[in-house]
Symmetry: C2
Subunit: 407 residues, 2 copies
């Protein structure tokens, strides 16, 4: 009965399946005796989800009617201001900047794809990518193609990027590139300042042809767990030509432990006030025609944090505790990786790291025998350092090395 | 820079504009001296948004980490079960019933339109309709056409419905009809049991041709404010032919005063287990490719209410207080309508009623002179009885009658 384009494979989500097996194993053997590295959220060393007190105290202190009310379609205006501050902090690019609320980062990617590509168009991302980018493409009648994220030196493969960028720009005269950075999911890679310069220079070169339209979508979901200099690249998007539009997918999910509250924004940076207005009305229309408005209480929490210096500082302090926790886990993991000589993706921080391999599902199965649960991707397996203790982070490289030797 | 299909008119929302003027007038003259009949949410007689204590006590008693966590992509399973119970209560149709969580009713309409029509297709609704149906059509590359809701007797215009239904079914071999009932927004109309029989009989007649695919989307957003017999029509959707699929847009916004928490579901009723599965995977894919998962805390509140008899009864009791309040407002309005002889849409209950007129914007402007704020639609003006006191409900018909006489 569904329209043909909407008939989908009837298969359970792979991650969900493995996460379920991990849960069963935890019940059988005790959670301390297994390593569940499948969950994409920050857990403490006992496996409990971290939720900032600053965030939930604020939410719970709200008047019921204030939580109950509809937010504005485009997002409440104090939230939209706060989302811009939360996205850029003190590294705001020069230009016209507008924000429209979305339910998490996913909604922002959906709007970028639907509003800045044509039906049937292809948009680009790295070959290691967050699988829902493909789902968003499929759901909205677009195609996704990839460039190689890493060259033979395990660094950003600019040549591959350039080749794909130019091929699609010639063909479509319009190109959307989704760049998940810093602390890329699933590799932990962060595009460096020098790499950004080359990416932007290439865009400027092609922007000389006024027929070309170049749109970057920078998905910064993990930015607040990516180090103190994570926002240093942002001012580069100021003063670019008019036919380069930069969009940011802002998400409160990880930065404010608000995964389940569905709060994010799509934010544009452009030298043109006119194009910023165009962006605003386009995305506000998309809100109304897709999910209507967003979660009022979540917006209010973010707005309050950015309008109350004490609360803001407390929230930062709280996040820093867990940022350090995650940093230690990453360090422990990297130390063990070096000790055992395990080839991994170029991890520079964040929730995830991956191990390249030819048969990811097979590797995951072998690891389950050792009670280590990881997620199989297209090009390797993903480990969620965010979800396991420092001690367990240190143990996994040797386990993976051993399993690889059996393949 | 936006793709051509995504460039939208740069105009402020009409309702928002008038609501803003009402707010200014309230500040200038005192809210007791104006009638702000623009707001689509249930307010008490002092203009404060009603929020059920049962709902918000449950939300606020949740563990922070429980609110913070991601919900399942398709919706948490205890919520999905609860959404089916909340939708049908004791009038569940016979058949295969599945539910997928959506952010409010809007998300359910979006999924029905995107998954059960083809790009470029036309779907049908009444000529008095909730304007976002048009936005959803525009946003997703579909068209909306209408049948006349009312005939010359101010009752359901079955002839017009039949004509449009058959025209599009012949042309498309597939037809989606969006029926906002009971207590239709913006007229307050409820399709009667006898009218439903004619609608369903017509569908069955055309379902004899197995090439035809007929999909009803029943938008029941206002059902819990539509009287005790509001669900009596529901069992009619059991045991229909396989090529008639019934979808329900369930919303917690009004029934549980959870407007800003974005909680709803799309629910299917079909005689075919296979088609119910198809529905489930189609809509779960749509979730992942549009907004990802839904609001965890909101789902938990609904699930808790339906798994705790005492809480359920308290919530019912709380809603009944306000249902009676709204009923009294409607009765007062109708009494005055009869006294002054004002022609209105056939109001049978709910949040809204409309007054047909040729120049809605002009009428709204005239009413603002008398400090009565209403929303101009295509075919008349909409009054939100949910937002004004019984006393004010009684006053408005004479005011509108007077304004109409000046036109």
């Amino acid at each position: 009965m569904a329209a043909e384009h909407a008939i989908r494979p009837r298969e359970a989500d792979v991650i969900f399946g493995i996460a379920n097996r991990a849960k069963q194993a935890a019940e059988q053997y005790g959670s301390e005796n297994i390593i569940n590295s499948t969950i994409g959220a920050l857990l403490d060393d006992n496996g409990k989800l971290i939720a900032f007190n600053t965030v939930y105290d604020t939410l719970k202190s709200m008047d019921n009617a204030q939580i109950a009310a509809y937010a504005a379609l485009e997002g409440d205006h104090d939230y939209l201001d706060a989302s811009i501050r939360a996205c850029f902090m003190d590294k705001k690019p020069v230009g016209h900047i507008r924000s429209v609320a979305t339910p998490g980062g996913t909604g922002a990617v959906r709007h970028a794809v639907c509003n800045y590509t044509n039906p049937g168009d292809t948009f680009l991302t790295a070959d290691w990518f967050w699988e829902p980018y493909q789902t968003i493409a499929d759901e909205n009648g677009r195609k996704l193609d990839t460039y190689n994220l890493f060259n033979e030196k395990n660094e950003f493969d600019f040549e591959s990027y350039k080749k794909q960028f130019e091929a699609y720009l010639i063909k479509q005269k319009r190109i959307l590139i989704v760049l998940n950075t810093p602390a890329h999911n699933p590799t932990g890679y962060t595009i460096s300042d020098g790499e950004w310069d080359r990416i932007i220079d290439l865009a400027k070169e092609h922007a000389a042809n006024p027929e070309n339209k170049i749109i970057f979508l920078v998905d910064v979901a993990y930015i607040d767990f990516a180090g103190d200099d994570a926002r240093d690249f942002m001012p580069k998007f100021g003063n670019l030509p008019k036919n380069i539009m930069t969009l940011f997918a802002f998400s409160a999910s990880k930065s404010y432990t608000m995964y389940g509250l569905r709060c994010g924004a799509i934010i544009c940076v452009t030298p043109s006030e006119d194009l910023a207005e165009e962006f605003f009305y386009s995305c506000a229309h998309s809100n109304r025609g897709t999910w209507s408005n967003g979660t009022k209480g979540a917006m209010h929490v973010i707005a309050t944090i950015y309008n109350d210096k004490t609360l803001y500082e407390e929230c930062e302090k709280e996040r820093n505790i867990y940022r350090n926790l995650l940093k230690k886990r990453g360090d422990a993991f990297l130390r063990s990786v070096n000790e055992v000589g395990l080839p991994i993706t170029n991890y520079r921080g964040g929730f995830f790291v991956s191990v390249p391999c030819a048969e990811p599902e097979k590797l995951c199965k072998l690891l389950i025998e050792d009670k280590l649960f990881a997620v199989p991707l297209r090009k390797g397996i993903r480990l969620a350092l965010c979800a396991i203790s420092e001690e367990k982070c240190a143990q996994t490289p040797a386990m993976i090395k051993k399993a690889l030797s059996k393949m």
